[in-house]
Subunit: 333 residues, 2 copies
């Protein structure tokens, strides 16, 4: 294993130290229990948005704390859920009196710990609602998940719910918008290589130079099938068709597209993937009206990509276009 | 070789198709000769800024075309210089009557072809000036370079010259500002793995699981030495000290820092690198007043990073802070 780290057990703390120092205008770190919080939290009268999960998916979640997106993020160890103490403390730190929304990727540990934290907060009189993200069409159940995994739609939900809370929507409205995002979004991922978890020191899975994993999870969980590497055009067509037929998306739909790199795939390839995906959408008369191309929800150093499509009406587009200022996503500010 | 591509010889064209489709609000593609140009070029009365070079360093250069940075970028094949025809056509396309600045990384082929294009344009009555970037402190001469290589400072020069041209500075002023950026910036890079050029199909160099290359170039050119992999703290201290002592930076200096990923290194590691670099700067009383952390000038899928520091006075900081709207760099718009 070759990584730019010191001791594997310190990677999260040392990386967070860099994040909050680099973006001290936006963020503060609370060390114990550990979470990253918007510098000016709590914002009185605004619904707070909290997410979190295992580290190793950066910029998700800690890189999306700022204005117009998350108010706080709770990082666990690499690929390990944050504990209820972290989530409870973050929730209290961002409660400006209008309640707090939890955005949770559907992994058993995350779900359990967010639910426990929500109960503790509610017992203290804080209103908490939750949006569960389970957009991955690859598999029904997975290594860490009952039901579908939460992947790329998390980025879209965090942006859109953040914008809704920023414009003053109520907790129930922001939660309803988050659920709508999840209902109308679908994703699939593929991997060419495994990631290497620092504490493990070796690749999570073996894969030959001729193979790819179709339907990979963001922790290196097995996908739907192991297959021979194919040209990008063919891979992306298969991925896009899986996503389109699952919702299903229909001719005439407008979509926000996220072409996401898993951490080890260069941008020159991701733009090629975007081009191939756009071609399939054109053929199916699905209109790509907004797009993000880059590393937004990663899996450490894994080579691969995911495609997320979100059917977007005018309301979702307006929330998408609203200004955002975070380390990982920024426009209009 | 596993990559998300179709045929290796088409990677540049197919990736560019994705880039200009994804960012059609900002960019146009001219297919023959090949260059990417700001949608509303030429901007009358504004100095045009043109850069270019081999592909494989994305988002550099094509991802920096837009408002407040480059007016056009000329992509060669992967790690191959663009030809004079491309540069001449791009220069003509962005000339709004105030002349055009070429920003050139110091590689023999780039320098030769930009000079040839400049002469052709001057013969047609277009004023052209050039800024040569040679900020890499690692080696004196290199595989493709007489003198120092041009690396991370290119990103900073493109941003700052773009801002100067946007505010209406004359060609000679913009060129002088670009030269000042180059004079006051220094960089060094390291690699943990090789990149793989698609047309070659195999890694550019061999490196064992216990080794790193200190002083690597952005094409996988050899660095200053091959050494055992060390903890990030030690690697970054060595890198930062090399950069600081070369200019030399001095106690009391304010700097813009670029912590750049080579394409295959995840953000969690880059923020850790930033933290270690900031620690060295603090010790040397060099104040990091602005910073970029991410993949800005890459080497395909290489794992590794580079550190660039630019000594910045109030004028350079104001130009740095000015709004920019490109696929790869965006703030204030």
């Amino acid at each position: 294993m070759k990584k730019l780290i010191n001791r594997p057990e310190n990677i999260v703390a040392e990386s967070l130290a860099g994040l909050v120092e680099a973006h001290s205008d936006l963020l503060r770190l609370c060390a114990d229990p550990l979470f990253v919080v918007r510098r000016d939290a709590p914002v009185v009268g605004k619904v707070g948005i909290v997410s979190g999960g295992g580290s190793g998916h950066e910029p998700l979640h800690v890189g999306y704390v700022g204005r117009g997106m998350l108010d706080a993020a709770c990082p666990g160890d690499v690929f390990t859920s944050p504990n209820p103490d972290q989530i409870q403390a973050a929730t209290k730190a961002v409660d400006g009196g209008a309640g707090v929304l939890h955005i949770i990727k559907n992994y058993a540990g995350d779900v359990m710990n967010f639910e426990m934290a929500a109960e503790l907060c509610q017992a203290e009189g804080i209103q908490v609602e939750a949006v569960l993200i389970d957009d991955d069409v690859a598999v029904k159940d997975s290594l860490y998940t009952a039901g579908r995994r939460g992947v790329g739609a998390t980025v879209l939900a965090e942006k859109i719910c953040g914008a809704a809370s920023e414009r003053g929507d109520s907790l129930s409205t922001v939660a309803a918008i988050g659920k709508k995002v999840n209902q109308q979004a679908r994703s699939i991922g593929i991997a060419l290589t495994s990631c290497t978890v620092p504490a493990a020191g070796k690749p999570t899975f073996d894969i030959s130079d001729q193979e790819m994993e179709f339907g990979i999870g963001i922790h290196g969980e097995p996908g739907r099938s192991r297959m021979e590497v194919k040209p990008a055009g063919e891979v992306v067509r298969m991925m896009t068709e899986e996503v389109l037929r699952d919702l299903p998306f229909q001719a005439g739909d407008s979509v926000i597209a996220l072409i996401n790199g898993m951490g080890g795939t260069p941008l020159i390839e991701l733009y090629l993937v975007f081009s191939e995906m756009a071609e399939v959408c054109r053929r199916e008369k699905v209109q790509v009206v907004r797009r993000l191309v880059g590393n937004y929800i990663t899996s450490l150093d894994m080579a691969g990509c995911s495609i997320t499509l979100l059917r977007a009406d005018d309301e979702l587009l307006a929330l998408w276009d609203a200004p955002v200022l975070t380390p990982g996503l920024r426009w209009g500010l």
